[in-house]
């Protein structure tokens, strides 16, 4: 019926939009793993989209700042968000489940990747998740989790605490 899927010679053609979608692209992680992803899903990353437009990659895009494990997670996210039938509600539910099982370490890696690949929705959600987990935690928990060593002397630390004693009210226990 609809002649739009035929070329002037009457041959069937895939519409351009669909063509773009189904075309695949290879993303290569820092540790050499290769992942195939549709162009439409990859295009949700502003950074990858720019690389595709510059066509500098020849079908394989190396991502030297993202390891394989993290890239697999990011691709799962991108695939869901590029899915044709997925409603906003579906995506919201997916996001919730997708992030809920992740430890802070993993969340930080995904945040890094989301920032580097410029996937705004993902980056925002991951940051919010990290923040919700840490806002009521103790200073010691933050140091341990982010592997930071305090360079304050006990007196200096006490001074800051004294000045803002109220901010230490309602700190959760360090257990997750």
């Amino acid at each position: 019926m609809a002649p739009k899927n035929k070329n002037p010679n009457g041959e069937n053609v895939v519409p351009e939009v669909q063509q773009k979608k189904t075309q695949a692209l290879i993303l290569k992680s820092s540790d050499g793993e290769e992942f195939s992803i549709s162009k439409s899903a990859a295009g949700l990353s502003v950074a990858i989209k720019n690389m595709m437009e510059d066509d500098c990659a020849g079908g394989v895009i190396p991502l030297p700042l993202v390891d394989g494990g993290t890239l697999a997670r990011v691709i799962t996210y991108l695939n869901k968000h590029a899915e044709d039938g997925a409603s906003d509600e579906d995506k919201r539910k997916f996001d919730e489940e997708f992030l809920s099982g992740m430890e802070v370490d993993v969340l930080c890696d995904v945040a890094l990747a989301g920032n580097y690949l410029d996937i705004r929705g993902l980056f925002h959600d991951v940051c919010q998740r990290i923040v919700n987990g840490m806002k009521n935690k103790s200073v010691e928990w933050v140091r341990k989790t982010f592997r930071i060593e305090s360079d304050f002397t006990a007196e200096e630390e006490e001074q800051i605490k004294k000045e803002y004693a109220w901010a230490w009210e309602g700190v959760d226990s360090d257990a997750d």
Binding site: V104, L112, C127, K135, F152, I160, Y164, W166
Partner: protein, 436 residues
């Protein structure tokens, strides 16, 4: 995990934390402390806080202030301005200044989580404060040059906001000397910048406009302060109302036209307001005993031809003040003896919100939780006796102050009414001479 979160990402994560957590996490390390206290980070956190609560998503925060007779104190609370407002999830704010003002402060404005308070509603004049309730910090402003001591009888008008270009909070203060036939123009203008910490005399061009004493209000829109003002060119000339503007970054005064229907209205009946980011003017039928008002909106900012009358509001039993607007189209106002009301201008119906206070003490402003004044401010907390000695002292103080409360302060509602009606009478006589 990668052993190292680049600063760029760390900043973006930290900027999403609430201020109380950030205060705590200054103890993590010296570099975190420096980062969190830096002006760059503080601006970034404000930007993030504003972005994360867009007005149209119904997550915008507002701060409500009123004077509670039962508690003998101002009461502040933060709410989300959505359908459920006011729900029980509101955040009560610790009020640290119960003894420093007779009843309550004028709230000049609210910007980036900082409130500007001025103690000029009940006779006193020269005390001005900046206060960030969420991190419990305040800055007490020095006394300006133009005061009763240097000027004689006078009145002043303030404008408060954030200068985005210079990353600085600023106040502009216009002091008008009282003459035989009203206030003399131009006023003496001083500008306060938080970064400098002092008032300096304004050397730019000052318009020969006057603002109505006591009843004035200011609104901040994109770094500019707006007041309703009137121009008095001399005894023979026509007097006209207009909008006076002060740009906090460039420090330049400007003027904008009002709709012609308001140009010759008695200016005591006009107040500047802001409706969905647009400049608006409330036109009351009269002060003190008002029953109705109209709200005019400037649809294209800066275009004096784009004013239109948006609402007519009439409240059974009497209108107090128009306080703000909500995403659902309702108007927040006070009605006599009913406290805060959400009024639907289409149906003309008002819903009591169960937030009570004295008639003229209500204030509603936009609010974000920010780290502003972290570096410049001093602690502002409720007085907590530090040891037994001071406790017994403050107890005896308390007893005597309860006894004198009536004598010392008088009754808040009587004082409100007396101030409003006497100012209204005085100004009506003064302004009618020039306007009618």
């Amino acid at each position: 995990m990668s052993d190292y979160l680049p600063q760029e990402v760390l900043l973006k994560i930290l900027a999403r934390l609430p201020p109380a957590s950030l205060i705590k996490f200054r103890c993590v390390s010296k570099s975190w402390n420096l980062l969190i206290s830096s002006p760059f980070f503080i601006s970034m956190q404000i930007e993030q806080a504003i972005l994360s609560k867009p007005v149209d998503a119904g997550t915008e925060q507002i701060i409500v202030r009123r004077y509670s007779k039962a508690q003998n104190s101002e009461v502040y609370s933060v709410h989300i301005n959505n359908e459920e407002f006011p729900d029980d999830k509101n955040i009560k704010i610790e009020y640290p200044f119960p003894d420093s003002t007779r009843f309550y402060y004028r709230i000049v404005g609210s910007c980036n989580g900082v409130l500007c308070l001025s103690d000029d509603l009940f006779g006193q004049a020269d005390s001005t404060l900046l206060w960030n309730p969420v991190i419990k910090r305040k800055v007490t402003l020095p006394v300006p040059q133009a005061t009763f001591d240097t000027m004689g009888p006078y009145m002043f008008v303030l404008g408060f906001g954030f200068d985005v270009e210079n990353n600085d909070y600023k106040l502009v203060r216009m002091a008008y000397v009282q003459g035989d036939y009203g206030y003399l123009v131009p006023p003496k203008v001083e500008v306060y910048a938080l970064s400098i910490g002092n008032w300096r005399e304004f050397s730019g061009e000052v318009p020969v406009n006057c603002v109505v004493e006591y009843f004035w209000s200011e609104v901040l829109i994109s770094g500019k302060v707006h007041w309703v003002a009137y121009r008095n060119m001399g005894m023979q000339e026509k007097v006209e109302n207009l909008i006076m503007v002060f740009n906090l970054s460039s420090e330049v005064f400007d003027e904008m036209q009002l709709p012609s229907a308001l140009e010759n209205e008695l200016p005591i009946n006009l107040n500047a307001a802001v409706l969905a980011q647009s400049l608006a003017v409330v036109q009351y039928d009269e002060r003190v005993w008002s029953k109705s008002c109209c709200i005019w909106v400037m649809e294209n900012y800066g275009d004096g031809e784009s004013w239109s009358k948006q609402y007519n509001i009439e409240v059974d039993g009497g209108l107090g003040m128009i306080l703000g607007f909500r995403a659902n189209g309702d108007v927040l106002l006070t009605a006599r003896n009913r406290g805060l009301v959400s009024y639907n201008p289409v149906t003309g119906q008002g819903r009591d919100l169960g937030i009570s206070g004295t008639k003229d003490s209500f204030y509603v402003g936009t609010y974000v939780e920010s780290l502003s004044l972290l570096v410049e401010g001093k602690e502002a907390r409720e007085r907590i006796p530090s040891d037994t000695e001071s406790q017994s002292e403050s107890e005896s103080e308390c007893e005597s102050s309860v006894e004198d409360d009536e004598d010392r302060y008088g009754d808040v509602e009587k004082s409100e009414f007396w101030m409003q009606s006497s100012m209204c009478q005085y100004l009506t006589v003064l302004l009618k001479r020039t306007f009618m």
